[in-house]
Amino acid sequence: MACWCVVLLELPGRHPLLRGTLRLQETARPGLTVDARHLEFASPLDLAAVAALTHTHAASGTEIALLLPERRGVASYLQRMDLLKHLPDGSRIVGSLSEGERNDHSASLLEVTRLTGAAVRDVNQRIGFVATSHLGKRFGRQAFTGLGELIDNAVSHGTSELGAFITAQAYSGRTTGRRRLEVSVCDTGVGVLNHLRRNQQHSDVTDSIHALERALSPRVSGTDEDRGYGLPDVLDGVRETAITSLILRSGDGAVTASHYREHAFTSYRRIPERVAGTWAWLRVSFPG
């Protein structure tokens, strides 16, 4: 069996997976070790992706270990966001945790949650509550209309026995002047390329970057129905009022896209480590 070590942060830093610094390194140690000792800040993508990644590896019998962040506050955050609870059964957690009181932050965050068809209703309510509590009724509803498509993608196209993982965090914008909501959905399904190729119309697509490029276009779907507005709606749903940024990783492809009014930025890149399934991170920033 291959031995891997995931170094979340090769250099001390913030939200490593958001920055695309996932590195799988062969080591002498058996199993998958998620080394978060130097983690300084975790984004929703870091949390959901670690959950998806560890479950994907554990499904093939790999033993999982998590080395907790040395910073006590960061370790507590991983615990508070239920990442530890959502690691595969039998995972080894190395490091110390404080016995903190668990306060109710349901208006500003959604802990790591396993996203299945049966859980959609509850997840919708939790995410909708965070969005409207934090952004106000109007902006919150608008934000949900877009980000709900990520939930749909994960349960409709990203299905696997392992499910998908979702988490969200709202930020007050005291320093930036913009209220933000970040949501990440990481599934363990077939990935964008394989999904698109189920539709004969897209059988010419042979690599992940091309697949991501096509998936961001309207009326592109892995089914033969006339649909496929999901990802364009994620990006354009609130473009008149909010800056929308979306990062997608699937296979060995990644895309970063940002839309605001008439401005649009999209950048594709190949990533060294393949992602099984699809990882998505969305941020909407509304005026404060």
Binding site: G117, V120, R121, N124, Q125, I127, G128, T132, K137, R138, G140, R141, Q142, F144, T145, G146, G148, E149, I151, D152, V155, S156, R227, Y229, G230, D233
Partner: protein
Amino acid sequence: MLTFPVSKPGTFLSTRGTGAHKRRELETALNSAGPAPVLEIDFTGTEAMTHSFVDEFLGKLYVSLSAGDVQAAAVRLIGLNEETRESVAVCLERRKQFAVQGEDHTLLGDTTVMPDTYAQARRLGTFRAQELAEALGISVTNANNRLKRLVQAGALSRNRAPGPERGGKEFMYTLP
């Protein structure tokens, strides 16, 4: 009259699966309600819904109505807020469909030609295609095409006219 409540207060709706489930619930209620009732789909309490949900729920429902798979004398949407109204409008426009908003009898969706036609139909109340064609200054064929779409969307009802004026079948159109 059949009123179908889409959700409880404070509900957020997403996914095609949920939309399909909701449509099946509605079709079951419609089929159990007797012959072609006036259907009101009540969105009161629905905070927000994704376009995919709307497409699977409403878009496909209007396809079934057009095909005659389910029958209603009229269909009206009520209780929409600004955001859910926008979702309905976007979804129906993509499908080249439209729907009647119950509160003010405006059309949502693909409304390129229909608002004037529907407004004229509302002024006429009960009428034949010929009368609408004259009022709008368009051909009878064109009027018939527009009326067919309004009937399929549940905006108008039609019944066989008492006696054909020039042979063939003719219909009387009414506001439900």
